[in-house]
Assembly symmetry: C2
């Protein structure tokens, strides 16, 4: 693909997250890095760009505003604290920049709705930066749980994502600070588990959400660990567990009337080049290997750039799927938090 | 081992359960079948004994009472409906017979306490017939979750056991009849999941038990499917899911501060001669294979016969571990049912 057809992505800040995403962009045939903005040293940004193999003509901006004005930037990746999402993404949207935004997408769904509106008004593509959704394995998982012959009807799902954060993380990381990310383990690890239970329920929202007792909060009221129950009609239910305080575990167990699914590394596959899931049903247990030629973060960038390319080069409308999925995930994150704050009362989602 | 040292077991009824257990006894070097009681045809019982390779001198009794009077019976296996447990096991205990009793051990813990008292007064050994607890893999699992270096402190556990019962089962099986087993999927599949969460919590009782919304009950009020939450101190929690309405699934996922455990076939291992579990921690995922020279039901019979032998041949006292474990399991089954019946209110276990 010629460089002219590549979607030009601008990056904010010289952080480790940006380092990882820049590798994914460099591996994507339909995207390229065109600019980076730093609010600290220009020299440092130049060195960062060089050591991470940014294209030689990558522009260095000394402010986020300047990058958002850059006509050589089609889309922007926002690895900034959640509290700043509305301000910067809505500004980007008004500048016609497409948006790749880290999860949790906002501090709450009404904040996110401001982002939704800005994207819709300005016709820009939105996607949240959750990579596992773009792994080819996830497509296969979705096929399996939607197969009435092999899986039948969904009955129960369990998903957990935990990791044992260091003492330093638990004191200083933005994910445990009310003024920064604000939603703690729920907005971070919990985000993935909620996506997982939505995926296996064919993206249908549950009727009720109830936090489970046993949540652990820090002194500032940030969730470090919690569980929740989600109910759909007909006795279909899901439980999640997310934690900064327990060993790395990334599970999906989905049980249908005819089949079951198990995934042990759904967030970050153990191997970059292949990913495994197990199904059982009809007396058989099968292990499925899905090859991933490119890492899942590259698959995400490619899909984002493809959608942006459809708009930029073919006059297509933005694809609303990813925005709706982010909104529903945020809605459930909010509902879990609301239930925790309201003494574990169930939250009814009807009309939200 | 000479026949004189074998524990002589009496069996009640010619059912499929008895067929399975008779194989386990035949494989146990320290146990033998000495009698069977039938309430129907003596000829049928003779044929049943022959086709299942009972010892040629096995006595055939035409009533349960008669078998319980037999001086050549040391211990009795009770595969009878739960509602009949108190009556027959307490009678057996007064006759000095040791007791191997199917789960759920009683309709509720106060009924079970009558069995406990009869066993204690008469000095007989009690064990419930849950086989997986005696699989050599279970010993290894217990070692792993108690290893502070590899597993750390327990944080969260999930266990499920479901199977898709046939229409015939859902209409006619004793497990869906209030006059027979009474506790439905909770007393059957749920029993195992509760044992699993107790096992990984080193058999410590939780503080509270809360049924989760989404239970499915039949017209007679019998649980066909339910979930529950269990809370210990310090944010340690467990969820279970048990069902007659979903595909066969038998999971334990236990998460500690340093390690995690996964078992996919904890109730009935996929293979009779080896059983697998997976651990992760410190960046490594390890699959552990545990060889089982004898099937787990034989391991159970051997352990039961060993304990009975200690009493019979060496004047030991009954080992109370299995009775306490059955009582605690029953206590939690009761608490889940109580919470379901009380609009999902938490049940506090203190003092029970």
């Amino acid at each position: 693909m010629s460089g002219d057809n590549q979607i030009r992505i601008g990056l904010l800040s010289c952080t480790n997250k940006v380092r990882k995403l820049s590798r994914a962009i460099n591996l994507s045939p339909n995207a390229t890095i065109s600019a980076i903005a730093t609010t600290s040293s220009i020299e440092e940004a130049k060195s960062f760009a060089k050591s991470n193999n940014f294209p030689p003509n990558t522009k260095i901006h000394s402010s986020y505003e300047s990058l958002l004005e850059d006509p050589d930037v089609d889309a922007v990746y926002f690895p900034i604290p959640t509290r700043l999402h509305v301000e910067w993404t809505t500004l980007a949207a008004t500048k016609g920049k497409h948006i790749l935004l880290d999860k949790p997408v906002a501090l709450n769904v009404s904040e996110f709705d401001q982002i939704v509106e800005a994207c819709e008004v300005n016709g820009v593509q939105f996607m949240d930066g959750t990579q596992w959704m773009h792994n080819p394995r996830t497509v296969k998982i979705k096929e399996f749980v939607n197969d009435l012959e092999s899986f039948g009807q969904i009955k129960s799902v369990y998903s957990c994502f935990s990791f044992a954060a260091s003492d330093d993380f638990l004191k200083h990381d933005i994910r445990v600070k009310p003024g920064l990310d604000g939603l703690g383990a729920l907005g971070d690890a919990g985000w993935y588990t909620i996506q997982a239970i939505l995926l296996v329920n064919n993206f249908k929202l549950p009727k009720t959400v109830t936090a489970l007792s046993g949540s652990v909060l820090n002194d500032a009221g940030i969730v470090l660990s919690c569980g929740a129950l989600f109910d759909w009609e007909d006795g279909v239910s899901a439980t999640i567990y997310c934690s900064f305080l327990a060993n790395l575990t990334m599970e999906i167990t989905a049980i249908g009337t005819k089949g079951s699914l198990r995934v042990h590394d759904f967030v970050i596959p153990y191997m970059e080049t292949e990913a495994v899931f197990t199904t059982s049903g009809g007396g058989c247990v099968s292990e499925h290997k899905v090859m991933t030629v490119l890492p899942q973060e590259t698959c995400m960038v490619m899909e984002f750039a493809r959608l942006v390319g459809e708009i930029k080069n073919r006059g297509a409308k933005p694809d609303g799927f990813w925005m709706r999925f982010s909104r529903n995930t945020q809605l459930l994150v909010d509902a879990v938090k609301e239930s925790i704050d309201n003494n574990l009362e169930p939250v009814y989602l009807s009309g939200r």
